[in-house]
Symmetry: C2
């Protein structure tokens, strides 16, 4: 393909760690002619997004909106606004994204206190309790659904510990958002960021976020300026709320159209039904994979429904299989990250990608490969 | 409109300071089903974008790509990567965006040396020369096309002064990109950021950037980490180039499809022809507006072709006219910012919005309003 050629991509089945497949209604919404970023009609779109984000996050938080950049920028938004140089933050780390939080905390000039857990396990509240003894950090941060390992972190015990220590409770909900329950208010989460390209099934590029009154108080009492202009909530909030909207940056209009449509699809399906669909398709995949000889990295009670970290049989040439899945079946699945590279696959069943048909397609393709061309995908035979 | 209703926006004629109207081919490209952000087919899309950005910026710079967020994030990318705490930066300020540069420089912990010019005038190279006497700042930053005032800043004299002082030359090309000539290599620009939603006529949400070898050397010799994780070029570059692409963040896949298509349209038209079109439509608008009694803020030789800052007749109820233009004609134009609010309009003729028909539509609408309902749009009559 030359840069002069028309765009000519395959129709992929997206079963990796995101982006997931996008509903035709969302794709169509993006082809809507643009309106200005301060057009009264666009401000209505922003208001609609805010209302639907509040509903999907089960929160009344006034400061609920979408950062005009992907999930990592949402993470950075939460941290640069709540931390100041010299602050202390307790970060729970059991995968790539916990590490990323820790990295950004340091870049804020704050001190990190880490509570680590092995990759594939949740963080132990007892260890967090221990680490908080005689400490009063500004915030406690944790990843709800660790996309690098497939672990679901129970949030309520950590929230209680954080608040007892006088800390804000910050949650990464990039992969859990719209795929499993998040009760932002009931669980007393103070700052939360998420992504659009996982269980919401909108294109990547925006990061829904929400902040509690406690978090806003911390923001208001800052002694230093937020180190990022683009992510500075003291200004961004005046674009998203208030009687007179103030220009800050030019919002990604088309992506917001898509976000609105994707949120509508979630509301139409209903949260409970959507979470159940994610759970049931996970179970279908799990049973099929186990029958083919695959294992799971994570204990059943902490497994994510939308991101399956699958332990590979030792004989499998995993890179070759993923290549064949993509080239011959147009199915994308994800490899492992860091120490888990070559040892696990990350199979996403997110949003529109979470269907019985997709599970069956993947299982059938794997079965066919194993039965029809074992030599090509088997280590021992290949290297014999 | 309730959040439950289908998206129902008007078809606007976008003649404000951006976004501009988007070509149907670009809208259609966005409705392409997604591929993964590490899919070999997506990496090809990224390569195509890089090649076309190099051509449109007239540069061979290897590090040329699109930041996954709007132009303001592109501005921040250039500054946080090139500046370290304690550095000095000379910033030319003659409008909102020069001010924004100055603001971000401070947030980097660097010292700002400002050279100010009145809003509506270019920055005087003699003053820059004077300010650089006995100084060797890390960089000199300037806005090529100041969207808040409509001023085109000649870049070559400032580039020479910057380099003579041992500084990098950093340029804001958000509004000039694809609407007037930018010779990045010949003019020895070291770091440049732009936007997609102005003369390129792609939706807002991405910021094309490019860095010279001199800038990359400065980046490599940093003593401290870049304060933003999301914008840290030492990591982002490994996603955009090299044999093995490393995951950094999830790129906005659909927006990149749109960017590729919009760049193709620019290549098909040809840069010279495109710049001429912008110039000619500006002249058509200028003549028509002057006949109606409007003036221009900027001297002819420094006027932007794509952003016309129009001085309003003293009798005009400008907010009312803009409201009527939007509601009765679906035409969006921009008001003034800061001290220029109420005194000027900012009329954009950018990319797809720069057509003879759009100019004629706007002039006819204004003429009709002035002739048919003078009392509603005239200050003296209204308040009499």
């Amino acid at each position: 393909m030359s840069y002069r050629d028309p765009l000519n991509t395959n129709t992929r089945i997206l079963m990796g760690p995101g982006p997931s497949n996008v509903h035709p209604r969302v794709l169509k919404a993006m082809s809507t002619p643009l309106v200005g970023h301060l057009d009264p009609q666009f401000l209505e779109v922003m208001d609609d997004i805010k209302v639907m984000l509040q509903k999907t996050l089960q929160t009344k938080n006034h400061l609920t909106f979408a950062v005009s950049a992907p999930g990592s920028a949402g993470m950075e938004t939460c941290l640069v606004n709540l931390l100041e140089p010299g602050d202390e933050a307790l970060v729970c780390v059991n995968g790539v994204f916990g590490n990323r939080i820790s990295d950004i905390v340091e870049r804020c000039g704050a001190k990190v206190v880490r509570v680590d857990a092995p990759w594939g396990e949740p963080v132990d509240p007892e260890q967090v309790k221990e680490a908080l003894r005689n400490r009063s950090p500004k915030l406690v941060a944790v990843v709800h659904a660790e996309t690098s390992t497939g672990v679901l972190q129970p949030l309520e015990p950590l929230s209680e510990l954080a608040h007892r220590a006088g800390a804000l409770f910050v949650v990464d909900a990039v992969t859990s958002f719209c795929g499993t329950e998040i009760k932002m208010d009931e669980w007393q989460i103070d700052a939360l960021y998420s992504g659009t390209q996982k269980c919401l099934s909108a294109p990547p590029g925006l990061s829904p976020v929400s902040f509690s009154e406690r978090a806003i108080k911390v923001l208001k009492e800052r002694k230093t300026r937020v180190q990022s202009w683009f992510l500075d909530l003291t200004m961004v909030k005046n674009y998203w709320q208030g009687a007179k909207r103030a220009y800050h940056h030019t919002a990604p209009v088309s992506a917001m159209f898509a976000l609105r449509e994707a949120l509508q699809l979630v509301m139409e399906e209903g949260l409970e039904k959507r979470f159940m669909r994610h759970k049931q398709n996970h179970e279908l995949l799990r049973d099929g994979l186990q029958a083919l000889g695959f294992g799971f990295l994570v204990k059943p009670e902490f497994r994510l429904p939308m991101l399956n970290s699958v332990v590979l049989p030792s004989w499998l040439e995993e890179v070759e299989v993923r290549k064949r899945l993509l080239e011959a079946y147009d199915i994308e699945i994800g490899g492992g990250l860091g120490d888990l590279a070559g040892k696990i696959w990350r199979i996403g069943l997110m949003g529109e990608s979470s269907t019985k048909n997709h599970v069956n397609m993947l299982l059938s393709a794997l079965k066919t490969m194993i039965e029809d061309s074992p030599s090509a995908i088997t280590k021992s035979l290949k290297h014999a």
